[in-house]
Symmetry: C2
Subunit: 319 residues, 2 copies
Amino acid sequence: MVDVPQLVEQARQGRPRAVARLISLVEGASPELREVMAALAPLTGNAYVVGLTGSPGVGKSTTTSALVTAYRKTGKRVGVLAVDPSSPFSGGALLGDRVRMSEHASDPGVYIRSMATRGHLGGLAWAAPQAIRVLDAAGCDVVLVETVGVGQSEVEIASQADTSVVLLAPGMGDGIQAAKAGILEIGDVYVVNKADRDGADATARELNHMLGLGESRTPGDWRPPIVKTVAARAEGIDEVVEALEKHRAWMEERGVLAQRRRSRAAHEVETIAVTALRERIGDLRGDQRLDALAERIVAGETDPYRAADELVDGLTNGG
Amino acid sequence: MVDVPQLVEQARQGRPRAVARLISLVEGASPELREVMAALAPLTGNAYVVGLTGSPGVGKSTTTSALVTAYRKTGKRVGVLAVDPSSPFSGGALLGDRVRMSEHASDPGVYIRSMATRGHLGGLAWAAPQAIRVLDAAGCDVVLVETVGVGQSEVEIASQADTSVVLLAPGMGDGIQAAKAGILEIGDVYVVNKADRDGADATARELNHMLGLGESRTPGDWRPPIVKTVAARAEGIDEVVEALEKHRAWMEERGVLAQRRRSRAAHEVETIAVTALRERIGDLRGDQRLDALAERIVAGETDPYRAADELVDGLTNGG
């Protein structure tokens, strides 16, 4: 028996075990999921959610870790959600994240959570926003969501952040990779990490060109900055924070932040509703109606489309 | 304006262009899709659907082609549906299939169709059964569905056949690959192709072991045969046909065929119904209800789950 109100109260007070427990509850689609989400609702909406994405090897975890340090210096409470779909079964990447983040392990103002995919993409897209809500309700001022920018689902998660950071590194052919994955379109801030390596300027120039940053824009439009960093030495990290805060201020000024959050919430509701409807249909497996329809299709008396119409009508009329 | 009844009549008479046009209509989710499916329904249920799956390089297309030749010798009309998801954009594999199948190109008793994925797996799982229906209605006695056995969706398609053939080749580590993809569980007939190569016996033995074919079974259970072939020289192909016919007879005797077809039809209805429900929700984008719910979530007045409940209730009460 889980005492949800008590857990939520403890999470609000900043107890890491309560936060971890709540994330496990929402992540695992436990029976208490709905109760947890209802209890969290009035506590959410304060966290600034930053998505970080990029190909493997660009230094996402190092950059994330450096950003945590920078935000902690200003007294902010920081949540980190590391979503790594490259390792659906092993959990190896999870350990890696933890090691890289270990300098923050004893800091009570930092929550770190790794999420692996559950083998299907929908699960990931669905669970991450819930985990963000927990971190938000737990009093995080900033939530950093780190994803590998390779799949559609990861792009989706990143695009659900308030601000999306796209990371690249010199000499990795990232430009092309990023363009393929569609992540170039989602960046609000671009980071060329490992900028002490050869080719950093070329990568920045290529990026500048691909983004059409040299072209004229409608005045007042956001112009994504390109920041060069060496995250391992914390170089350029303050500039990234500055860029993030500028983007946030720009969004707030223009109502874009509220708009993005509404759109994110709408998307979330949609995902949950589709899952619920799918489950309703799933419940009909072995149900006489579906069996009877299948029988009639096999007999050539009806076709799958008319049958689906009947099924949907049955469901949508309280059947 | 498409004259569906005329197209269907022409397809029934065996005109290849009409068959091709109908498949394009159902594949492309055209406005006429429902009309086509309704017109086809009473004409379907005659074709014996054989799924062929296996890793790239095991000789699926060669085997398929040899099976076409074998079935044609007995006067059967044959449809081939080659589903190749490895090439979502290029269409290169499509051309390859055509070349391999070219010996049948001028045979009026053979229909060959390649389908590429449309970039999302759902599309493939959804379109293949419709195309099978067209070939069925066009009078094909046998429909061979060739898929690459690597993804969940392909396994799904193969499992929707009346009989599933799993192909392997020696020295490709196919045993392990097949096990990973879960295709070992779906075979009704196993083919070790390229059996003139070293290691063919070892592959057959390994397969025999993995399938537990040496173990005792409930009398009357189907015991998947392992057939060795050299498809390029048509060696062993008659044995494959024999195995297929045996499996078909076994299924008919025990009512398994009808049961599989009902289950396939039920699955199809489900897929279509979920898509339809998803579209209904999609229609709500920009709808006041979803916007209002999103607004309330952002304000912390409700949570995504309660909002989804409201949305689903609205839909399922004719809203």
